[in-house]
């Protein structure tokens, strides 16, 4: 996590103190502090949108502009480090006016649907517009109009609401190391998209939902599944069974204006009953079963001394991440299903049997902190033998909160009720599943006792608690030393795997959670209430404390001590890793090939699998040779644009496969390659016509009438700039000055130059090439 990195850096260097004056107030802050941070220390809140303390500085939205005495232009407070003696003004009528204009400009390109928007009253843009006093709209004009991307099971992308702050792009790249998203095109047409603007579901997105958490507006939202739940509750003969993840109860209060740090599990159970759930169970029970299976699996691996390190597999984001980026580690993932899926399977088998109803009559709802669980529930490997889903609907903490509000339930007034039996009782080990390090700690509590047969004295593994991005420790169980690591935030997972692959580190057991902070920081959690921010250390520690405190108060703190768990093994499952356990509680993983996988050899295979036309094949070979020349260079990124030039030179445009080859060769994510390719006008993604007609629109040509010439070409060819005629003969383009101003206006057809062109010459020029073609 960037947050952590920054701190360690600061520790090393001796930091100078700098004194500045902000609105006349003297402030002394460490060197490197930005104006915004300095102002925050004295209670001046400069408005902001693109800024986020855990992400790199963007300086793009410009609403944080301030005045520095003696400077002509305003500076962005989020990006400007204080300099000794600066006199800074953050409050003035001029600044207010300019900030208001900027927000007004954003709104002018934003749908006017606040009343029906999911982020109404919880939207940073709305807040900024109100507080800066945007009351009228002066500049209404063209507005962006993109289709919503509904393809993903987890995340909905609505570029119309995007204000291009790039917080999603940065969190995806810097914190998650995935880079499924990038800014593409440029200027007014800029838009944040997955590679090739293909469906989100086909991209390398791992469904973590951090883009939703980071978005100041509603450009990203979870896929709404509440409709299915309402429908099931409505259906007369449906038995609606709910389960709720540990981290949901640690954060749901925030959706109702309550400060983080409290566990609201009983209130959740009561609210679910009030909403019409027939049975209310606890995912923490599933977590305890998970530990039984996973710890046993670990013990077995230890015995056989195989497949190390073992990775936890509770986190669907992490699992998909491995399936995308590190298929060579698929066997290292524990085969145990996640707590949600175990619970789901047990509800539709064990519990259905107990109720004596067919599983189809049960509607299984999982209330999760997580958007990726929506994807997990739909994985074919996780369906029963008939192909029916074990989990019918996954809703996030946010959706759950909306349901509660929608039903008119005053959550803060609820007294709370207990979960139902037999799948509602849990140990403290199950509780701490919700925070980073929790699964590992829970597993160790059981595994240690499984191995040694003795009772652990100290069951709190403090070394692996906390919010440090990667935490590691070595523990001795019996006679074995076990190297343990915990990582959260997928960029940290990248780091860990890089170290393992390089042979720098060796581990036995690793817990990875995709979201920073683990599930408590999940992509489905409520938008934090000010002053808390998503990803912030303070918020994550508060939510974690709610779980650790509950763990302390539990009667049973080890999964294998949970009496209902013992009972279900005795009566139904027989034993961990039994045949039935394997059938219901374990799964397998598949390598995935989304658009934009990094693996070079995989692509090579792909290219061979679907050979291109004989004409293109040698071109691809040439491109691969060119890529190979730079693959191992230190500054390989800087060859991205030269290679795109090469590809365009070879093909005349940039075919998708060429971009894939380049992406993998120079190790730049495909979404970024696409972003770069669409940024520069020189590159074209469509096949060009045989003849490129390029009209110079440099100033000299323009004042001599190039504009009229252009209009004539458009009229006669029936196409716009950048388009190609249907017969593939002409492409119309404009250039900005080819440096032949003496000949203005100039028209280029491929290499041929036509000088001093008048509108009446246009037909002649077109006919010349048409005739050439006809002659062939």
């Amino acid at each position: 996590m960037v947050l952590m990195k920054k701190e360690t850096k600061q520790k090393k260097k001796k930091i100078e103190k700098i004194t500045v004056f902000i609105d006349g107030i003297e402030v002394t802050v460490p060197e490197g502090t930005t104006i915004m941070e300095a102002a925050d220390t004295i209670g001046i809140h400069i408005p902001r949108l693109c800024y986020h303390p855990s992400l790199s500085i963007e300086g793009a939205c410009r609403i944080c502009v301030v005045e520095i005495e003696g400077r002509k232009n305003l500076v962005a407070a989020c990006a400007y480090p204080v300099e000794s003696g600066l006199k800074i003004k953050t409050i003035s009528p001029k600044l207010r006016r300019i900030r208001r204009d900027i927000v007004e400009l954003i709104l002018d390109n934003h749908p006017m649907d606040c009343q029906t928007c999911e982020r109404d009253s919880n939207c940073e843009l709305q807040r900024a517009a109100y507080s800066l006093g945007v009351r009228y709209r002066h500049f209404v004009g063209e507005r962006k109009n993109y289709a919503k991307d509904l393809s993903s099971f987890s995340v909905i992308r609505d570029p119309n609401k995007c204000i291009l702050c790039e917080r999603c792009v940065r969190v995806c790249e810097e914190v998650q190391g995935v880079t499924a998203l990038a800014n593409a095109h440029r200027g007014f047409k800029s838009v944040v998209v997955p590679a090739f603007e293909e469906n989100f579901s086909d991209s390398i997105c791992v469904n973590c939902g951090q883009c939703i958490n980071m978005c100041p507006t509603a450009a990203f939202l979870e896929k709404d599944n509440t409709g299915d739940v309402w429908k099931a509750i409505d259906a007369k003969d449906m038995i609606v069974v709910g389960q709720i993840a540990p981290s949901v109860r640690a954060a749901i209060g925030e959706a109702f204006g309550l400060m983080p740090g409290e566990n609201y599990e009983k209130q959740c159970a009561e609210a679910m009953r009030m909403l019409g759930f027939d049975y209310v169970f606890d995912t923490q029970f599933g977590a305890d079963v998970t530990i039984m299976e996973e710890a046993s699996e670990f013990v077995q691996r230890l015995k056989n001394n195989e497949k190390f390190p073992m990775f936890t597999s509770c986190c669907p984001t992490w699992v998909k991440f491995v399936e995308h980026f590190y298929p060579e580690f698929l066997n290292n993932l524990s085969t145990a299903k996640s707590p949600m899926s175990m619970q789901g399977a047990l509800i539709k088998t064990f519990f259905a049997k107990q109720l004596n109803v067919p599983p189809e009559k049960i509607f299984n709802v999982a209330i999760m902190c997580c958007t990726a669980k929506k994807f997990e529930a739909n994985r074919p490997e996780l369906k029963d033998e008939k192909g029916n889903k074990y989990i019918d609907a996954v809703i996030t903490t946010r959706e759950f909160a909306w349901m509660i509000k929608s039903a008119g339930i005053n959550f803060t007034k609820l007294k709370g009720t207990e979960f139902d039996k037999p799948l509602g009782l849990s140990s403290g080990a199950g509780t701490i599943f919700g925070t980073t390090g929790g699964v590992m700690e829970a597993a160790l509590r059981s595994a240690a006792e499984f191995i040694t047969g003795e009772t652990l004295v100290d069951i709190e593994f403090k070394d692996i608690r906390g919010v440090e991005g990667i935490r590691e420790t070595t523990i001795t169980i019996g006679s074995t030393n076990l190297n343990i690591a915990v990582a959260h935030g997928l960029d940290n997972a990248h780091q860990l795997i890089r170290d393992i692959k390089a042979g720098k580190k060796q581990y036995h057991f690793i817990e990875v959670m995709g979201c920073p902070g683990g599930c408590i920081g999940g992509g489905g959690q409520p938008y934090p209430i000010p002053p808390y921010l998503p990803l912030s250390k303070e918020l994550l520690l508060k939510r974690a404390s709610a779980l650790y405190n509950s763990d302390k108060k539990k009667t049973f703190r080890r999964s294998h001590h949970n009496p209902d768990v013992i009972r279900i093994y005795k009566n139904f499952l027989e034993a961990p890793l039994s045949k039935l356990s394997h059938k219901l509680l374990h799964t397998h993983y598949v390598q995935r090939h989304p658009t934009g996988i990094y693996k070079y050899d995989v692509l090579k295979e792909e290219l061979q699998l679907k050979p291109h036309t004989p004409e293109d094949q040698p071109k691809y070979q040439k491109l691969i040779d060119a890529v190979n020349a730079y693959r191992l260079a230190d500054d390989k990124y800087s060859y991205l644009i030269p290679l795109l030039h090469k590809a365009q030179e070879l093909f005349g445009y940039l075919p998708k496969d060429a971009m894939k080859i380049i992406s993998m060769g120079v190790k730049v994510p495909l979404s970024s390659v696409y972003g770069v390719a669409t940024f520069y006008h020189f590159f074209t993604l469509n096949k060009r016509g045989k003849y490129s007609i390029s009209i110079c629109l440099g100033t000299a040509c323009y004042v001599k009438g190039a504009g009229d010439v252009m209009e004539k070409f458009k009229e006669l060819l029936g196409i716009d700039v950048g388009q190609t005629t249907n017969d593939g003969i002409f492409t119309l383009e404009c250039t900005r000055c080819i440096g032949a101003c003496g000949l203005a206006p100039v028209v280029l057809v491929n290499e041929e130059v036509f000088s001093q062109v008048k509108p009446e010459d246009v037909k002649k020029i077109i006919d010349k090439y048409k005739n050439l073609e006809a002659a062939k």
Partner: protein, 118 residues
């Protein structure tokens, strides 16, 4: 050891000898403007023509030079005769090449109608 400046001077002497042989020893130097703007106005073809037509003439050096900045008068052909004022011809077309060779180079007569005057 030689200083960089001394090294440069010896390079200068070598270059001078080379260029003298190539260019300045000739009676005529024909320089065709060669730049994007000149080429757009047709200089490439001119250069080719001059080179072809004067290939056997040992009195003439045909070469290129960058753009002199006279955009509206391009393409420009300079003919420098030893001991005389250099002459610039402007807006030269393919048909003018023979005229320039026959009149100016073969007969020493300046082709007035093609002259670049201000």
């Amino acid at each position: 050891m030689a200083t960089p400046l001394e090294l440069w001077e010896s390079k200068y002497e070598k270059s001078k000898e080379k260029i003298d042989n190539l260019k300045y020893s000739k009676k005529f130097i024909v320089l065709v403007g060669s730049a994007t703007c000149e080429n757009a106005a047709g200089a490439t073809k001119l250069l080719e023509l001059f080179r072809n037509k004067l290939a056997d003439n040992n009195d003439v050096y045909v070469g290129i030079t960058g753009c002199t900045g006279r955009c509206s008068k391009e393409p420009i052909v300079q003919i420098i005769e030893k001991g005389r004022l250099p002459i610039k011809y402007c807006q030269i077309k393919i048909d003018d090449v023979d005229k320039l060779i026959n009149e100016h180079i073969k007969n020493g007569r300046i082709v007035n109608e093609l002259l670049l005057t201000d």
